[in-house]
């Protein structure tokens, strides 16, 4: 055990001599986390669930009794905690279309109410014809934007209210004209009837009681970005694990150690211990900075600490496995890059794992990232406790142990061919 520590201490001493390397090891991840967190914060949501919609409106009706355009424009002016619609009025359909087409999402929806729409509606109702194509609705083609559906529903509700009101008036007249009925025509006020129908429509939502159930998932961008990139960079440290052993082999110091009276496994164990400590230190410092500077949510430090320890162990084990398979430093770089990029992409380093397709989530467990991010997302975003995250901690420890056992079997301490001298 002492020898193992001496070798680890020597490696740590060598690392400490490279001050610039140490600074970059912390600075680069923190800079990237800052940039990504602030740039893509809106992707994860800022914690607010308000839907914001911009509508471009062209109301071509100018007649005094034209009501459709005014009613729709009035109905769209909504500003509540859940929904905010901004209506910008334009003079021509071409301007409305231009707003919808604009690359900067100037308008999500365009509405054009042609001249005479209101009169057309009245005429259709009198003739008992279903009104069609009264309002023109402009959106980008092949879009699934839910905000368009919201606006459509509001407009539909407005038109339905108008139709219901007019239909009710017509019904009253028809009843009056039935044989045996007598109505004083001047007592039937279509406007009053229509207004009553409209009020009834607008008050219908009071029949629905809104209650909450469960706990809403709000993702602070740094709650995802920080652990994701911290794990990503800790995996890039696999290069260092492999490089230190391959460097010693190339320099001849590895042979020197094998000639010394130490056990072979102490040699590898010492190197692994040094790299484990460096990886753990890197992760810990990043998380501490995240907590105090980026205000990431860490309610259970014990759980997060155990996750960081087990992640460091797994990463170090994987590094030892790679160095037992790969023979030169030129080979290690592309291998590490491939492993890290794939496992980070599918493992939830760059977006929450639980947002990935359900079929992909178990497959992602082939890499360390998925285990680590499932635990860290669970603790920091979903508020899971230690027992819920324990399977991820144990998974990481087992992962590291398996890698290490395979590495010890495969690692070649001596060359197989003769040295020609």
């Amino acid at each position: 055990m002492k020898t193992l520590w001496y070798i680890a201490k020597k490696d740590l001493l060598q690392i400490s001599k490279d001050r610039n390397g140490l600074i970059l090891m912390l600075l680069v991840p923190l800079v990237l986390i800052s940039v990504v967190g602030f740039t893509f914060g809106s992707f994860y949501g800022s914690g607010s669930s308000q839907i914001q919609i911009t509508v471009a409106l062209n109301n071509q009706e100018t007649a005094q009794n034209a009501f459709i355009g005014k009613t729709i424009a009035s109905a769209l002016k909504i500003n509540t905690r859940q929904l905010a619609i901004t209506v910008n009025e334009y003079r021509s359909p071409a301007q409305v279309i231009a707003q919808v087409e604009a690359a900067n999402n100037a308008a999500n929806v365009g509405i054009v109410i042609p001249v005479g729409a209101s009169q057309t509606l009245l005429n259709d109702l009198q003739r008992n014809v279903t009104p069609k194509n009264l309002v023109q609705f402009y959106t980008l083609p092949n879009t699934n934007d839910l905000r368009i559906t919201v606006v459509q529903n509001i407009v539909n509700t407005v038109v339905q209210s108008i139709l219901a009101g007019r239909a009710s008036v017509n019904q009253v007249y028809q009843v009056c004209h039935q044989p045996g009925n007598h109505c004083a025509q001047n007592t039937i006020d279509p406007t009053t009837i229509a207004t009553a129908i409209a009020r009834a429509n607008s008050e219908a939502n009071q029949a629905i009681e809104t209650l909450s159930a469960g706990h809403a998932v709000t993702i602070d961008p740094f709650d995802q970005v920080l652990p994701g990139y911290a794990v990503f960079f800790s995996l890039l440290g696999l290069n260092a694990v492999a490089a230190t052993i391959l460097q010693e082999k190339e320099d001849g110091t590895f042979r020197r150690l094998l000639i010394a009276p130490i056990q072979k496994y102490a040699l590898l164990g010492g190197k692994m211990l040094a790299q484990f400590l460096v990886t753990l230190a890197q992760l810990s410092i990043i998380f501490l900075v995240g907590y105090f500077v980026f205000k990431v949510h860490i309610s259970d430090w014990l759980t997060v600490s155990l996750l960081l320890i087990s992640t460091s162990f797994a990463a170090t084990g994987l590094g030892m496995l790679l160095v037992s398979l790969v023979k030169t430093r030129a080979q290690i770089n592309p291998v590490v890059t491939l492993v890290v990029l794939i496992t980070s992409a599918v493992g939830g380093a760059w977006w929450p794992l639980f947002l990935e397709p359900t079929w992909l989530q178990p497959l992602a467990k082939i890499g360390i990232t998925a285990w680590a991010m499932e635990g860290l997302n669970g603790s920091m975003i979903l508020g899971k406790g230690f027992m819920d995250v324990l399977p991820d901690i144990l998974g990481l420890l087992a992962y590291g142990l398996i890698c290490l056992m395979i590495a010890l079997r495969l690692f070649r301490f001596q060359q197989k061919t003769a040295i020609v001298r």
């Binding site: 020597k10 150690l257 009276p261 001298r421």
Partner: protein, 275 residues
């Protein structure tokens, strides 16, 4: 005493152990060492002994098997068969015990270039089980011994080749080995450093250290070695003191007496270039 070169050569091929003839105790005994790599037999039934405080030279062209022999003797390579005994202890049966008695100065400079001279020495002192006090004292002694005490706090990557070779040697001496193997320790070294290394080796011999010394430089072997073995293709083809080797002649073939060890070496191993 062998009468001719051919007699010695013939004797060497059948592999009896060649012992020091000056009565000194045997410190190192190489017994029928064989090493094959696949179908290639790198070392073929090699046997010899080295006496206490003797400097034993191992000469041979490239590919002769010198490094393979050293690697087997120090426990880095497992022999296909055979053994090496150091002070009566077997390297194959008790490797950790024997490794404490062996020091190896490798041909390549095997140092931690980011660490300074003192840190390199102290690390290997730790590996060999020296206490903190012992490490410090021994490191200081050795740094004086190799003439680098004043530069002990400098990173070894800033040292010249000769200085690095001296630290390379000092590391092998940290644990006071009874048997030191030096694999071409003066390759690429300036004359001053080389002279310093020679003086250090002679001092070690005088202090009782047994030394196996491999080199391509005949003048080194002539200067330092009590006995010299010339090996080629994994076997000893000549062994004896310098005087014995130079006195050899093949009476049947009437080969001219070599004027020096180099000429003898070429006569025995041929002029063909080796890889």
């Amino acid at each position: 005493m062998p009468e001719s070169l051919s007699e010695i050569t013939y004797t060497a091929k059948t592999g009896p152990i060649h012992s020091p003839e000056d009565g000194r105790a045997v410190e190192v005994e190489v017994q029928h060492l064989v090493k094959t790599f696949g179908k290639q037999e790198a070392v073929k039934d090699l046997s010899f002994t080295i006496g206490k405080s003797e400097i034993f030279g191992l000469l041979g062209p490239n590919g002769a098997g010198k490094s393979t022999i050293i690697n087997m003797m120090c426990g880095y390579l497992e022999p296909t068969s055979g053994d090496t005994l150091i002070a009566g202890q077997s390297i194959t049966r008790e490797p950790r015990k024997v490794k404490r008695m062996i020091g190896v100065v490798p041909q390549e400079i095997a140092l931690y270039s980011d660490l300074n001279a003192l840190e390199n020495l102290e690390f290997f002192g730790e590996i060999y089980g020296l206490s903190s006090k012992e490490r410090k004292e021994r490191a200081a002694t050795l740094l004086h011994f190799v003439g680098l005490y004043d530069r002990r706090k400098e990173a070894v990557k800033k040292f010249s080749g000769g200085m690095q070779r001296r630290i390379n040697m000092a590391i092998a001496l940290m644990h006071r080995p009874v048997f030191l193997m030096m694999d071409e320790p003066t390759v690429g070294v300036d004359p001053q450093s080389r002279e310093h290394i020679f003086a250090a080796i002679e001092q070690l011999r005088d202090q009782g250290t047994t030394i196996l010394y491999t080199t391509h430089y005949m003048e080194e072997a002539e200067r330092l070695c009590n006995r010299i073995a010339i090996i080629d293709e994994g076997r000893i083809i000549a062994l004896g003191t310098l005087e014995q080797l130079l006195a050899m002649r093949d009476q049947q073939r009437e080969v001219q007496r070599p004027h020096g060890l180099q000429e003898l070496f070429i006569q025995l191993t041929g002029k063909t270039l080796r890889d």
